[in-house]
Assembly symmetry: D2
Homo-oligomer: 149 residues x 4
């Protein structure tokens, strides 16, 4: 496991099936990525955009839903950068409750100048930060299986 962001799942996150509504899961994952930035860089998306003039809009998200999320446990979101391109970065987020993987997602963002939404390279300190924390680009489930083998 890498860096983990904890989320308290509440009544209002759940639907009549008594589990977190599917559309809340990407929301949780994005909150976890935002928290990764704030924790590692000292700036979340809000500070990046407003104080620094850097946007990181998403171009793709791909999520497997493996087990329901409920308020019975904290939701532990493992976040890690897994690929760094010239103008893009990919994160993987794995959500666990009570030791069980609930979802695995891969998210690709591009770096842009907010004023005109044009792609740009990440600033050197951000490129270095991402490179430093780069993890294998594979699901946690696969990694766990490899470690056991």
């Amino acid at each position: 496991m890498g860096w983990v962001h904890e989320i308290r799942v509440s009544w209002g996150d759940c639907d009549p099936a008594r589990i977190a509504y599917t559309a809340r899961i990407p929301w949780f994952a994005l909150d976890a990525i935002d928290a990764w930035w704030l924790s590692h860089l000292g700036q979340g998306w809000y500070q990046l955009e407003i104080d620094r003039g850097l946007g990181t809009p998403f171009v793709n998200m791909n999520i497997d839903f493996l087990s329901p999320v409920t308020p019975r446990h904290m939701l532990e979101c493992d976040v890690r950068p897994v690929a760094l391109g010239k103008t893009s970065v990919a994160f993987r987020v794995t959500g666990r409750q009570g030791g069980k993987i609930c979802f695995e997602g891969r998210f690709v963002c591009v770096f842009v100048t907010p004023s005109d939404f044009t792609k740009c390279a990440p600033p050197p300190d951000i490129g270095a930060l991402l490179a430093e924390h780069m993890a294998p680009d594979e699901p946690e489930a696969a990694r766990g299986a490899q470690q056991q083998a």
Copy 2:
């Protein structure tokens, strides 16, 4: 274009970048799929679960974000079933504003009995309904290109 569900994007859907927040897009897409059920079957997820005892939880979503969504235009969500398995169904949703594709997503659901969350085959009328509306399993962008070729 197939069946279209219109969504009014509002101020509260937008983030400080002045565009709909990324985590709202899957929410819009799911609302559109729910509306597809209600329009075609006469039952949305609420009625399916509570009146009929059938759940259709998601196992995967994969979304490409192609252009920002804003309150400047209605969001037109084209919804179509594209694959039917023994216990699963896949939908594609294409979101357009002002004629421009904003996002393309593919969503896979399984049929379950809500009481114990076990997979099941879709009831015959639902299987027939999905089969009747089945569309090619490819993005709209690709379909548009083929039609022009």
Copy 3:
């Protein structure tokens, strides 16, 4: 009844009690007020803020929840301005489903210049528009009772 904004309540709006989650109700009411602006002025909050440099932040909301909101019916939100001050405006929103009042709320906004968040008088056209549509400052329930008396 005055001007009505219709909202489609969906599965994802509901909590495990199988009714719309309480915190969704103010969201619906605000969407209805935003829709009032767009319909009457041709500009919603997004256009007011970005194109015109006028903000209308809320200073108070007071909502009575009278009956559960569900996906069984459309939610009809009756919106009407009920008080106009030098730098403020109040709206009442009444939510109905199937002819039954589900909630009644009163919302007070102030006019501000977005750049520095200082209060200002509404522009003349907006003051005139609000004055023109001004309704009695009382709940619908009370109005209905009076009409019957």
Copy 4:
């Protein structure tokens, strides 16, 4: 100050005015009340409803918005029960950021049996718990002024 629930305000909570969207504030306040139950009783709304068969739907909320909420600070929500009726309970929630009061709200709930939504008295342990933590039924702002006087 009484018991405090901390909320991390994120990018996705903010609107184009760069502050938390008004409709997010009641959501935050409700999350804080749910967290009060979980922390004091060991059961939040989810456990109360599903494990214990007790619902606490809202009948009124009244919120003053005093200062914008942003991601610059944690949002500290002070929650306290302030009135206990035969079948109802009222909470006050005060939201602070960086020492400044952002909002003050009063929320009234009733106790119901979820199966038929009929009002009931709170179970003895819950009545005792609420009585034990009862605080003055007045805004924090007023209490602060009194303490200084």
